[in-house]
């Protein structure tokens, strides 16, 4: 890693909400993620950039507890989970943690939504998993979350298959934030949307970030998206972090040879 070594935080007195250490994951002989460390503070947005296959999305799947790493520590500063390596949770605790505290938006809505049940039903499902059974509460909470995601409420009973790509992403986002999670994971949330829709979704993400004060990680290969949303950024290549820093610094004064190429390649 070519980033200069900075001092440890001294002025900021809050602890990171999310901390991961030595994350490592191989697929066969191929190291997808090789010894990644990261911290995200409450209310902060951490961007992860890098070419396809650099390990960005694998990191999100690990942090979403969808996949087990080969090795690594993962902690969240949340009551009931403090000091525990979350990779060692049993499947019931893992599911409870995910439902209650982690929201995720996938690039492909097929991964995040059931395409044959209504949009409001998709959002309500998350509340049902958290134990809510009253129909009126479910309906209202789903409506509120869809509204916060700026989804057109007139279409809340349409199935996702009938919605545009931008609207499908808003349903995913509503599902992700319905229970006001502590952690929000965004995997290329605007890739594949046309630019005007992308702008609107970015604006919604920015507002939600400001209002919910969650710790957010956004993976994107679009440096414009990263500049708009991220406070800090990690640059990944071949499963390793080659550079990290404040977003404007990494984009305007990149240190590593690969980051310099990446930034220079932006249109």
């Amino acid at each position: 890693m070519t980033s200069l070594a900075f001092d440890l935080p001294r002025l900021l007195t809050t602890a990171p909400l999310l901390r991961a250490r030595r994350l490592t994951k191989h697929y066969g002989a191929i190291p997808a993620v090789a010894g990644v460390d990261l911290d995200v503070y409450p209310g902060e947005v951490l961007g992860i950039v890098g070419e396809s296959g650099s390990g960005k999305s694998t990191i999100l799947r690990l942090l979403n507890l969808e996949e087990a790493p080969d090795t690594g520590d993962y902690t969240l500063t949340i009551d009931g989970y403090r000091g525990r390596n979350l990779f060692t949770l049993d499947r019931y605790d893992r599911r409870a943690l995910r439902v209650r505290h982690i929201g995720i938006v996938y690039q492909n809505p097929l991964h995040g939504l059931r395409m044959h049940i209504t949009s409001s039903g998709n959002v309500a499902e998350r509340l049902i998993m958290a134990g809510e059974r009253r129909f009126a509460t479910l309906r209202n909470a789903a409506r509120d979350a869809l509204d916060a995601s700026e989804f057109p409420l007139a279409r809340m009973d349409d199935i996702p298959r009938r919605l545009s790509g931008g609207m499908q992403q808003r349903v995913q986002l509503a599902k992700a934030i319905a229970l006001q999670p502590m952690v929000l994971l965004l995997d290329e949330p605007t890739t594949g949307l046309d630019v005007s829709v992308q702008a609107l979704v970015l604006d919604t993400l920015k507002r939600i970030q400001r209002e919910l004060h969650v710790a957010t990680i956004i993976v994107s290969h679009d440096l414009g998206v990263i500049r708009t949303l991220a406070d800090r950024v990690l640059v990944m290549r071949h499963g390793r972090v080659v550079e990290h820093g404040l977003t404007d610094q990494v984009l305007d004064d990149p240190q590593d040879a690969y980051t310099q190429q990446l930034v220079a390649a932006k249109l």
């Binding site: 002025l11 005007s196 702008a199 970015l202 990290h244 820093g245």
Partner: protein, 224 residues
């Protein structure tokens, strides 16, 4: 202790594909007390903007120290953790650049209000204060709700100024803030800087025309 004490500050850009080092500046020494204004002078390309960016940490200095006496304790801006720099940017150190990065589909008023909201103010409150600032900098009322991507350079710069000045600061870095402003707005900005200085804000500025800052300057740093 001064608010800012800079020793041997040096910046070289290492350009990998050229396998070259490019020197921006070397061995700078200066200090600044609260309420002082330092003018940075020198011809194009001597590293004036880069110096401001190295203090704001958009660029990483390659040598030296910038000891800053923050409200949270003393810190070296050259070495501080990214999250500490982010904290200082939210609460103490501002940077006025020559360019606005307008975001698609975000109105001028919302862009101007955003820094206050991020600093913890209620959204409607932040918007009404932003409106006062846009008024003071004479941005036409009928474009407050329009998207700045289509604005003229001067109009964009007004939004940019409000974004940078709307938050309380202790150290303000000004990179040619008057460059594309009309006379009246320039006067409004200078008046605003005078007030900030009187309130104890330290300012470091690069100005194209010295006449803009007559009577404000306490010391000069000449780069060559």
């Amino acid at each position: 202790m001064p608010l800012l004490e800079v020793h041997n500050y040096t910046k070289r850009f290492h350009v990998h594909h050229l396998e070259r080092e490019i020197l921006a500046f070397e061995g700078l020494e200066f200090w600044l007390n609260p309420g002082e204004f330092m003018l940075v002078r020198g011809p194009n390309g001597v590293g004036k903007s880069t110096l401001l960016r190295c203090l704001y940490r958009t660029c990483i200095p390659t040598g030296g120290q910038a000891l800053y006496d923050s409200l949270h304790g003393p810190v070296d801006l050259a070495r501080a953790a990214d999250v500490d720099i982010a904290l200082l940017r939210r609460s103490e150190i501002g940077h006025v650049t020559q360019f606005l990065h307008p975001r698609p589909r975000v109105s001028a008023l919302d862009l101007a209000a955003e820094p206050l909201a991020l600093a913890g103010r209620m959204w409607e409150d932040a918007r009404s204060e932003a409106a006062e600032w846009l008024e003071a900098f004479r941005l036409k009322r009928d474009i407050w709700h329009a998207y700045p991507a289509t604005f003229s350079g001067g109009e964009q710069q007004k939004v940019n100024l409000v974004r940078a000045l709307i938050r309380p600061q202790r150290l303000l870095l000004l990179d040619e803030p008057t460059a594309s402003l009309d006379v009246a707005t320039r006067a409004a900005l200078i008046e605003r800087l005078r007030e900030l200085k009187a309130r104890g804000v330290a300012l470091i500025g690069v100005f194209h025309r010295d006449s803009d800052v007559v009577g404000l300057v306490d010391r000069e740093l000449r780069l060559a």
